[in-house]
């Protein structure tokens, strides 16, 4: 499972360098906006499509390159992220589904923005969609091109989450 080769050639970055941008962006967003330090692990070799008791925030990228940037979090971590971002208790966040969705959507939006900065020369040749949230006890996310993707696991010390970037060149 690797990023689309046409993308790698076009942006003149190796896949490892592209993954590094995603890792650095995720660490920066978490340290400044979530007040949480996270550690990354090696990118996964197999796609993850099934999720349990989780929340997925995603933004679409459209333009010179198109794709999806997603963050997949277990629900307890999503509540902790929301409570940190909004300065509320975790229990309070658990009763505010809209806030949890909004917080995860905003993280996906910030990460998508960072990826766009790497891919787009001036910013006008690509657009980012409004964030989409998927959540539930059990759900599956499938893509037509599952292989053109990089998935990076992160660890907060208590919980793990995934950030995935799927891209192709138009």
């Amino acid at each position: 499972m690797t990023l689309n080769e046409a993308v790698i050639e076009s942006v003149h970055l190796t896949e490892a360098e592209m993954a590094k941008y995603v890792i650095d962006a995720t660490k920066e967003v978490f340290s400044t906006m979530v007040m949480m330090n996270v550690d990354d692990s090696f990118p996964l070799r197999e796609p993850v499509t099934k999720f349990s008791c989780s929340i997925t925030g995603m933004v679409g990228l459209v333009g010179t390159y198109s794709g999806v940037l997603s963050i997949h979090c277990p629900r307890p971590l999503a509540l902790k992220i929301t409570s940190n971002m909004l300065g509320m208790e975790v229990e309070e966040a658990g009763e505010a589904e809209e806030d949890v969705n909004d917080a995860l959507g905003e993280i996906a939006n910030m990460l998508g923005g960072q990826v766009k900065m790497v891919l787009s020369k001036g910013g006008m040749d690509m657009n980012i969609s409004i964030p989409t949230i998927i959540s539930g006890e059990e759900y599956t996310i499938n893509s037509m091109a599952e292989s053109d993707c990089v998935i990076i696991p992160f660890d907060t010390g208590e919980e793990k989450f995934l950030v995935s970037l799927k891209l192709k060149k138009e």
Binding site: T82, L86, D102, E106, K116, G122, N127, I128, I130
Partner: protein, 120 residues
């Protein structure tokens, strides 16, 4: 003390910006919030606002159109874009449309304070 209008479709980000303004030690009287450019124009129509902080990527009316409408209405209030859309061309268009400055998300309260200190 100045009144500030925050225009962002994310309620989380509006709360983070409000908290960051306080943490940066900026003296602010009232903070108004709007979820898109249309709501922002409505708030501006009925309130005295000394500074606007606006996202770019929003539904209904995006930040670039919002700036144009604010300037078309003859308002000279400073507008700072707070956005993930940090591309050079987008920021050039925002400045050409009437934005005063920009700050990229994510940001720290100190970075926000330094950026806004000279405008308040």
């Amino acid at each position: 003390m100045p009144n500030i209008l925050i225009v962002d479709d994310s309620s989380t980000m509006r709360k983070i910006i409000s908290r960051s303004l306080r943490q940066a030690g900026l003296a602010v009287d009232e903070i108004f919030e709007a979820g898109d450019g249309i709501e922002g124009l409505n708030v501006l129509g009925g309130n005295s606002v000394d500074l606007i902080l606006s996202d770019i990527n929003m539904p209904n009316m995006d930040g670039l159109e919002f700036i144009k409408q604010v300037r078309a209405n003859g308002k000279t209030v400073p507008i700072v874009m707070i956005t993930t859309e940090g591309g050079e061309d987008i920021l050039k268009e925002a400045i050409a449309s009437g934005a005063s400055d920009s700050i990229k998300k994510p940001f720290t309260p100190d970075q926000l304070g330094q950026k806004l200190g000279g405008l308040l």
